[in-house]
Symmetry: C2
């Protein structure tokens, strides 16, 4: 029997039964070989797919959350520090995913956690007994977050040459809505929901690359320059890394332009990234 | 505590720890309420997402497989009955997914099974020792299957009003390539690979609807008129069903135009389906 690439090929088949079943006639090929017929990719970097962090990298929560909260709540006579409210709601994100990632509770999609986070944050701002439809409208602001100004055209340019997908902690429904809202064409929605855990758990990166039929080294994780832990997680899984400057990520002038992590490519924005990858 | 929709909401959280964690302040909402901000859907049928069977419903294997096999193998001096070869390769599909669906072997993506099926079929036609790159090129014909002529324009029309996704046994990499090849814009790739089993296992339907944040009754499974078991599986899971006539599905005149299963809507093609859903 030809052993070419067998180990890689059997990656998903862990039992003896499966191994026996999968042993073929010598034509077993590597996983990477089963990949893509449709994209050229970057020869320079050896990558065919770009996987995107979304919150902060593609999406500008710091503008959208306060603005939309004000639009929904102000006409109902509610007045509060909208910036502080947006920051507080977003601030619950990190802690809320920990119990899932650590296995303390089973996987629930991010929509579920964000809804609980909203329940937790509203009373701190003195907002109680919000009618259910208003609460829901507010919750769904996450489904129509605005992308940074360079994203729609930058993604269109990148999509000609690369497979594109979110590799986000956001769930599929949320990401699908966001893609429509910002006219982004993804090839698939990957990330937390298909891996059933949250980044930076290694499985989120590896399963996302596998879903595209590619080795991790053929995929590049794209993150905002300040997202060191995401780059670390992706690089540990074997992925290439690409940073995009987001100088206003935490509000005007409160972001990062130069990554501290040693990424494979650092770009000013998505158009610059497209130029660098195709150079 | 307000019990509104709690059971539905807790659907994914099965342990006591999770239940406790998820019990909130009375603002828990149904899963369906967390759904979509981006599409209008069909008021008549109460559906917001269309989930597509792909093989036979969207894709014409009976034309593509023999034609492409001939293109790849004939220049290498291989001559065989191309129609019979296409039918034989396709014929392995059904039996090959059974051990996964029955749990005899762990989940492997359809690409893996199709490669084994090709290994199995080639010797029957006297083809042995095919070079690896040619074998791979042949295998990847599945990634560039042609859609039926009504599909690209029909999907574009449907996409204005509905969330669209494959709910196919095909894996994500294969479906992403097929979407590019035929210029179809899906919102996500759902189906077997996210559920880690094969249709008509109930999980494939329910997890696909959940991924869009919708109740099964808010999603319609679209299948070729002759695909009774797929309609049965979808309907059992609570989905609506829509049939498309595919009179040439098994070759010229060897298909089905009128479904035997009592579907919610029966259409001549995808454009007709769009008209009926929006009537």
């Amino acid at each position: 029997m030809d052993n070419f690439g067998r180990r890689d090929f059997l990656h998903s088949a862990t039992s003896l039964a499966a191994s026996t079943f999968l042993v073929g006639t010598g034509l077993l090929l590597t996983r990477s070989a089963r990949a893509q017929v449709s994209v050229q990719g970057s020869r320079k970097y050896g990558v065919k797919a770009l996987l995107f962090d979304m919150f902060g990298t593609v999406l500008d929560m710091w503008t959208t959350l306060p603005r939309e909260a004000e639009k929904i709540l102000k006409p109902r006579g509610i007045n509060l520090d909208w910036q502080a409210f947006g920051r507080a709601w977003l601030g619950e994100y990190g802690p809320s995913i920990v119990p899932v990632r650590e296995g303390t509770i089973p996987f629930v999609p991010l929509d579920t956690l964000f809804r609980q986070n909203l329940e937790r944050v509203l009373p701190r701002f003195g907002v109680k007994d919000l009618p259910k439809d208003v609460f829901e409208q507010l919750h769904l602001v996450w489904h129509r977050l605005d992308a940074w100004p360079d994203v729609t055209s930058g993604m269109a340019a990148l999509g000609k040459t690369f497979l594109l997908a979110p590799c986000s902690n956001g769930n599929i429904a949320m990401m699908a809505d966001i893609a429509r809202h910002n006219n982004i064409r993804f090839d698939a929605i990957l990330g937390a929901e298909i891996a059933r855990t949250y980044k930076p758990a290694p499985k989120v990166y590896t399963m996302s690359c596998e879903a595209f039929g590619l080795k991790t080294g053929e995929c590049m994780m794209i993150g905002a320059a300040g997202h060191t832990s995401d780059f670390e997680g992706a690089a540990k899984a074997g992925m290439k890394t690409g940073a995009v400057a987001r100088p206003n990520e935490g509000g005007p002038g409160k972001g990062t332009s130069v990554p501290r992590f040693k990424v494979d490519v650092a770009a000013d924005d998505l158009s610059d990234l497209a130029a660098r990858l195709m150079a």
